[in-house]
Symmetry: C2
Subunit: 173 residues, 2 copies
DNA sequence: CTCTCCCTACCAGGCGATAGATAGGAGCGA
DNA sequence: TCGCTCCTATCTATCGCCTGGTAGGGAGAG
């Protein structure tokens, strides 16, 4: 794995654990095994790094759910994608974390975060019944519940709370 | 208003906007109009301040929903309480924010955050139909959707997304 | 005389970011 | 093939600023 990729992976893990202000370039350097000046060589500024991180996360997320057929299967695919966050070290959704913090973040990061939700809302609503407006509303409600489920599971320190929070997710719309 | 209360109010606003690591004692001092050493006089450490903040928030929140009768009215009371966050300067629920960040927070803060969700889950589930286990599951799902709705509204920069996300909240259980 | 509250003046350490040096290759002309 | 240049990645060393937190003093109130 290239150094830049290692830095991205370390940064993603740290943002998802503790947020934008919860890590430093020195933390990343230590994770990767280089010095902080070398991290700046690959990513000049923190805001550029995290904005890139959010964009890459969005691409990866969309790929993970792209092939899910319309209907309940697509909802299930989203549920699985969110649950995977928890399984890997009790992490938040990257953009859920950034969305919560968004009022204290640099604009490029806010913009990428917004794009994540716009894209997921659009893709998820395409797989739902009803007219476009109604399907969009359902998609927003589903995503809200999934993001919130991650928060509750983390706050309660109980991963099963995620499953409880999204029980019968596909029937709730 | 006493100085200590002003500090608490300023801290709450800042945590809800940008999270635990998104503000400093000097920020609070400037908000209140004193020096940072004076903030330390009232609240010796940051973790103690935020832990107290979370406890006070929980009390205030519980009071706001305490009188709601069981059934749909109680769900509506929770919805109103969460919506009030957004109306006041697009803020997160304090404990939703702390819950998201919880993996990077000092233990006393994590503990108070957990208590908020335990208490709201218990109180909300008391007002729902079904046996205790089922009512608890419903309460967790409702709170998840409310917390997530705040995140989406902030990330999208569109307050109406909150209302969309919680549309027919009482019918969804 | 003491207690409360706020002040000035600090401290050690962490922050994002920069400057400049060094080592190792890759490409290329003679 | 030798020697030169350029590029990339990393280093050491440092910058100015901010961080949470502390020490000690002064002013006013009971």
């Amino acid at each position: 794995m290239k150094t830049a990729e290692k830095i991205m992976a370390a940064a993603e893990r740290r943002v998802r654990a503790a947020g934008y202000n919860g890590f430093s370039f020195r933390d990343l350097a230590e994770d990767v095994g280089i010095k902080s000046a070398s991290v700046h060589h690959h990513f000049p500024t923190k805001e550029a790094l995290v904005a890139k991180l959010a964009a890459a996360y969005t691409e990866r997320f969309m790929e993970a759910v792209a092939e899910a057929p319309a209907g309940a299967a697509r909802i299930a695919a989203y549920q699985r994608a969110f649950r995977a966050s928890l399984e890997a070290d009790r992490q938040m959704c990257l953009c859920g974390m950034l969305g919560a913090e968004s009022m204290g973040l640099p604009q490029p990061v806010v913009l990428e975060t917004k794009r994540f939700f716009e894209r997921t809302i659009e893709h998820l609503s395409e797989g739902l019944d009803g007219d476009a407006t109604n399907a969009r509303a359902k998609a927003i409600a589903l995503l809200a519940r999934l993001e919130g489920a991650l928060i509750l599971a983390r706050a309660l320190g109980d991963l099963s709370a995620f499953d409880t929070a999204v029980r019968d997710l596909e029937k709730s719309i």
